[in-house]
């Protein structure tokens, strides 16, 4: 710890160069609401911290071709205040805003939530349901990857040690599209998900689902994309048969653990319930967008 070096480069290229040249443990810093806890508890003993917040574009949201680009280190509070984003992607915004307290919202970012790689990260199922892409920069240049490809296990990502997530892309929405994210916790604030469910749907003019993505959190070692649950919705209105099929598909995808937040059986049951409730909200929101 006594040898920790802090660097705050002002270009992505410099950040990547510093990371690539680092010996020992190097960590990328965005909002720091996970990293600082790990640093102070002694769980993480980095030799180098590279702060990304001075790189232009890493904080901020812009609309591009009808979609959105969210800087990787943009705090949750800024995401919550972006009205066009909240209108287009209410599920992503409500998920990002569920992370921690007001104070944590002042710092916590999507890239941090993703790269901390918790199975229970709230924003990740919503981003996966939204078909979000993250832009990653490394020594070999820039690449794009779907959010669901990043977390490979608790605390582990598919990123190389000298790669940085710089932004998230959310696509342009077709008409009658909406998303929703629900998290179950035993109280109403300041807790970690027992189960999370993110759902994005596109309806046709008759209210029939034409496209859907379903993602579950905290029910497996990584947040899950569940195509079988999406298939339960596509081609249907949200009737009882669709809800039952969704519930069953969501439950079937779960591979949870028993811990102090919930048992395996409980998490599986709640995953089905949250999927149904999130679908109901997403369908209702999409139906209002005629």
């Amino acid at each position: 710890m006594a040898t920790l070096t802090y660097q705050a480069p002002t270009t992505v290229q410099d950040a990547v160069r510093i990371l690539a040249g680092a010996g020992g443990v190097a960590k990328v810093l965005a909002g720091g609401t996970d990293l600082l806890v790990q640093l102070r508890s002694g769980r993480m003993k980095p030799d180098l911290i590279v702060d990304t917040k001075k790189i232009p574009g890493l904080i901020g949201i812009r609309e591009v071709d009808g979609g959105f680009v969210i800087g990787a280190a943009t705090p949750g509070a800024v995401i919550g205040e972006c009205e066009p984003l909240a209108k287009a992607w209410p599920g992503v915004v409500e998920a990002a805003n569920l992370i921690g307290s007001t104070q944590v919202q002042g710092r916590a970012s999507l890239a941090g939530n993703l790269c901390n790689a918790s199975p229970a990260a709230d924003s990740v199922p919503a981003l996966i349901a939204a078909k979000a892409i993250c832009v990653i920069v490394g020594p070999k240049g820039r690449r794009e990857a779907p959010v669901e490809s990043i977390i490979i296990g608790p605390g582990r990502t598919s990123l190389e040690r000298d790669e940085i997530v710089t932004e998230f892309h959310l696509p342009k929405r077709p008409p009658r599209s909406a998303d929703a994210y629900l998290r179950f916790i035993p109280r109403t604030e300041m807790d970690i998900a027992v189960v999370g469910a993110g759902i994005s749907v596109t309806l046709d003019a008759g209210g029939v689902c034409r496209d859907a993505r379903v993602s579950l959190g905290a029910v497996a070692p990584t947040p899950l994309l569940v195509p079988e649950a999406a298939a339960a919705l596509i081609g249907r209105k949200l009737d009882q048969a669709a809800l039952d099929a969704l519930d069953a598909a969501a439950r079937k995808a779960c591979k949870p653990i028993d811990d102090k937040r919930g048992t395996i059986d409980y998490r599986i049951k709640v995953a089905g319930v949250l999927a149904r409730r999130a679908a109901a909200i997403a369908f209702e929101r999409a139906g209002e967008r005629r």
Binding site: M1, L4, A8, V37, R40, T102
Partner: protein
């Protein structure tokens, strides 16, 4: 590693200080700048006793490196009163006896000020959710919420 130089604006005054790279903003405020109003309750962002306002946003100073404050503006509990005149939330905390041991109070006052800066007329629910990251083990929160809502009313020029 040599100590890092940080230039920030703290409670409206330009301040330069040196810190260790791993030192939190909370530790730098308390140990380098003798601003000991901000408290360390948990050190992990759960309790809010270290709350400060960074560039207009409420944050936990225990979850920031001091070096991250370079070039930014920080408002601490020490900057809440104007001379000898207490900020309305401070005055209302006294009137409502919204504290007991007092350890959480600086953080709650800073958080309440940040709320009222942004939302002059919060509902009780809004105030409770906004302050959910500030833990108090003495009061049961009711007096705190009443004090914040009363301060808001006074700041709007309404007699409570």
């Amino acid at each position: 590693m040599s100590r890092q130089h940080v230039s920030a604006v703290i409670n409206g005054e330009p301040v330069d200080f040196l810190c260790e790279p791993q030192q939190t903003l909370l530790d730098a405020l308390r140990d380098e700048l003798s601003l000991t109003g901000s408290k360390e309750g948990c050190g992990s962002g759960d309790c809010g006793a270290c709350s400060v306002i960074l560039d207009g946003r409420l944050v936990c100073s225990c979850l920031m490196l001091a070096v991250e404050a370079d070039g930014h503006s920080v408002q601490t509990i020490e900057g809440l009163a104007t001379g000898n005149k207490l900020h309305p939330v401070q005055q209302k905390f006294l009137e409502h006896a919204a504290l007991q041991c007092g350890f959480c109070t600086p953080g709650l006052l800073v958080a309440a000020k940040a709320l009222l800066d942004r939302n002059p007329k919060p509902t009780e629910t809004e105030a409770r959710y906004w302050l959910a990251g500030n833990l108090c083990r003495c009061t049961g929160y009711d007096k705190i919420i009443r004090a914040v809502l009363d301060a808001a009313a006074e700041m709007r020029g309404e007699s409570a």
